[in-house]
């Protein structure tokens, strides 16, 4: 811990200590929980570009609190807070941040409101997202932090209308990008230099301004048909990854505007649960695919099935395709010698998981295999609950690929072994 981080940590503790007795009695949380965790990931690949020989090494304290205010009892009002203090050995800093902080209530029995910082998820894929345009943290996932850190919180207002026959969810969010590969903790392929790099300094990212007209909107219409769940999705906002080039000389990237339209179906099939989801992502700053500096529109498809094999064993299979539109124009725009992607890019995933010892030991893996790009990502994980409160987990992230420029190919060498111990209360 550096001097600065120590100071920050102390000041947070002091703040908490002094505000506790000042809190009015009726403001004390109705429910409290959280955890202490120590975790880290150690590299065993041949990657040399990123600074440390570990991807992360941290202690984390999470506190969550629910409060049900009396004056909102008729509206089933609920205040929820989830905050974390993180002692980060990689950045040599202490961070304190709010992961969730929101108020939710019911209006006229038909409408649910949720306002504030929240985690948002919808869609049917298993770690594959088509119509879920809410921000994600792929770096956390690839280095082996808990799965909950794949989702980045959004500052949002969510309004849900529930009738007997269908439901409408409308979400307004402030732009928050994905935490995607940028050289921080993991090396990545820099398309400007054509090299694998391990520093986040080389590229510049231009975020949309926090102008009210840049508020993103997401809409979902859903209903059930017997056992089958159907949904339509609409999104208007920005790509969450910097898929537009602002200036190739200064290596500046930006987040182009995007609309998406899609649907999903999920229901019982062949004794398991099958899902089908598709989406059309319209690149609004480059509708016809004329501009080689901005990503083209795409259609994405996903089909999956999960089977219960018995004996607490589950098997999941998914087939995912990204189809680039206006491919001819894209092809013409690729500079000589630069890497070119295929029109159809497909991915297979396989997940197998099983509980042992009265569900205290969980073992499983997920495998992503890129059919076109011949790259893969394998993530085995084992966790064991020593007691109801104390859990140990161990896993690995293994990447391989024939080429440096592909999704997982660029990560080869970043193989890591992660482990964590968590005490929950």
């Amino acid at each position: 811990m550096t001097k600065k981080s120590k100071k920050l940590f102390l000041s947070i503790l002091i703040c908490i200590f002094f505000t506790l007795p000042l809190t009015p009695k009726n403001l004390v949380a109705n429910e409290l929980g959280g955890f202490f965790e120590g975790a880290g990931a150690f590299k065993f690949g041949n990657e040399k570009a990123v600074k440390n020989n570990y991807n992360f090494l941290e202690t984390r304290f999470q506190l969550k609190a629910n409060y049900f205010p009396e004056f909102l009892e008729d509206n089933e009002g609920e205040l929820f807070f989830k905050g974390e203090v993180l002692g980060d050995g990689y950045d040599e800093r202490v961070y304190a941040y709010i992961r969730e902080s929101n108020i939710s209530m019911v209006i006229y029995d038909l409408i649910d409101l949720k306002m504030g910082r929240q985690i948002l998820t919808w869609g049917t894929g298993d770690l594959l997202f088509i119509n879920d345009q809410f921000p994600k943290d792929y770096i956390s996932f690839f280095i082996g932090r808990g799965t909950e850190y794949l989702k980045v919180p959004s500052d949002a207002l969510k309004i849900s209308y529930w009738s007997k026959y269908f439901a409408i969810d409308l979400v307004g969010t402030l732009f928050e990008p994905n935490k995607s590969l940028n050289g921080e903790r993991l090396s990545f392929y820099n398309p400007f230099t054509g090299e694998i790099e391990g520093s986040s300094m080389s590229l510049n990212y231009e975020r949309p301004s926090s102008n009210p007209k840049n508020i993103e909107s997401s809409l979902r219409l859903s209903r059930t048909f017997g056992s089958v769940e159907g949904a339509l999705y609409f999104f208007s906002g920005f790509y969450k990854d910097p898929v537009g080039v602002l200036n190739p000389i200064s290596m500046s990237l930006f987040y182009p505007r995007m609309n998406s339209y899609g649907f999903s179906l999920r229901g019982p099939f062949l004794g398991g649960i099958a899902n089908f989801e598709a989406g059309f992502l319209e690149s609004r700053d480059d509708i016809n695919g004329e501009n080689p500096l901005i990503t083209n529109s795409e259609v994405r498809y996903l089909i999956g099935i999960e089977e219960d094999l018995g004996g607490d064993t589950k098997l999941g299979l998914q087939f995912y395709v990204e189809q680039m539109l206006s491919y001819g124009k894209y092809e013409n725009g690729v500079p000589l010698g630069a890497e070119k992607r295929d029109e159809f890019r497909s991915l297979l995933t396989l997940r197998l998981s099983k509980f042992f010892l009265a569900q205290t030991l969980h073992a499983g893996f997920i495998l992503f295999y890129g059919l076109n790009e011949d790259d893969l990502y394998f993530r085995p994980r084992v966790s064991y609950n020593f007691t109801d409160n104390f859990k140990l987990s161990l896993g690995a992230n293994i990447f391989d690929g024939a080429n440096d420029h592909t999704n997982f190919g660029q990560l080869q060498g970043n193989n890591n072994l992660f482990l964590g111990a968590r005490y929950s209360f």
Partner: protein
């Protein structure tokens, strides 16, 4: 004095008459009817209900684990489809998780799981109804009820279990490949039809698992289990306790939808 004797005599005759009619009625029940009545008594009390459930799981080495949850239930038809909403309170790492089931006796159940940390509503494949519920010695079927038409039933006789008069019934699965037992015996209370004891025998015919009901109380006119236990030979046991049981609360259908996975109906969970 004479009058009192007369009164006692009348009461005695009257009670005798009631009991004989009752048992005469009961004597006419087939094994299948008794099992159906037991199914109704155990799983379908009232038109809906809620209870706080605590499971203490002890493994073969004596280590204890606690599961605490609130269970809401609504019956669509008596003996038929039911909806369950199970909100987990403990252990802390599953706090706030919700498990929801639409049970279809004789068909495939629909199951959902909500994981609050990632706001994820997951559909769960549910072919294996004999797998453990929340790591306990209870199976999913023990918790939500086994389809009575999946077994053939044979009335082995009338017995006494403690102070209670019971029917002893042997149940043999019609499709033995789907289950880990070869048959099970169940002792059903003659008066309120609660199954008070069950014994499961493995494929070799050895006793494998014993389920007992240890405490019963009449709540809102419905005989309700307060405490039960399942013990597996050589593999530990689970004790289940129910608290704050209430019936006929008028649950709306919306409680058993995606809506309350994402926003739990706190009013009923307190």
């Amino acid at each position: 004095m004479k009058k009192i004797f007369k009164l006692i005599f009348v009461v005695f005759i009257f009670t005798f008459f009631i009991f004989t009619t009752k048992s005469a009625e009961a004597a006419g029940l087939t094994a299948g009817e008794i099992v159906d009545k037991a199914n109704l008594a155990y799983y379908y009390g009232g038109s809906d209900g809620r209870a706080e459930m605590k499971m203490t799981i002890t493994d073969s080495r004596g280590r204890e684990r606690i599961r605490e949850m609130v269970m809401l239930r609504k019956d669509l038809t008596d003996g038929g489809e039911q909806k369950f909403y199970v909100f987990f309170k403990n252990p802390p790492d599953v706090n706030g998780m919700v498990f929801m089931v639409l049970k279809r006796p004789g068909g495939t159940d629909d199951r959902w799981l909500y994981i609050p940390a990632v706001d994820l509503v997951k559909r769960v494949a549910s072919k294996d109804k004999r797998s453990s519920f929340a790591g306990s010695h209870f199976t999913y079927e023990d918790v939500s009820g086994r389809d009575t038409s999946a077994d053939t039933h044979e009335l082995l006789g009338l017995e006494k279990l403690g102070v209670r008069d019971v029917y002893l019934i042997k149940n043999t699965p019609k499709n033995p490949d789907l289950v880990e037992f070869s048959f099970f015996k169940v002792w059903i209370d003659k008066e309120n039809f609660l199954p008070l004891k069950g014994e499961y025998f493995d494929k070799k015919g050895n006793l494998q698992k014993t389920v007992t009901v240890d405490e019963v109380e009449v709540i809102d006119g419905i005989a309700s289990v307060l405490k039960g236990k399942v013990a597996e030979v050589g593999r530990g046991s689970t004790v289940v306790e129910f608290k704050n049981i209430r019936y006929n609360l008028g649950f709306k259908d919306k409680i058993f939808t995606e809506r309350s996975l994402r926003k739990p109906p706190r009013k009923w969970l307190k």
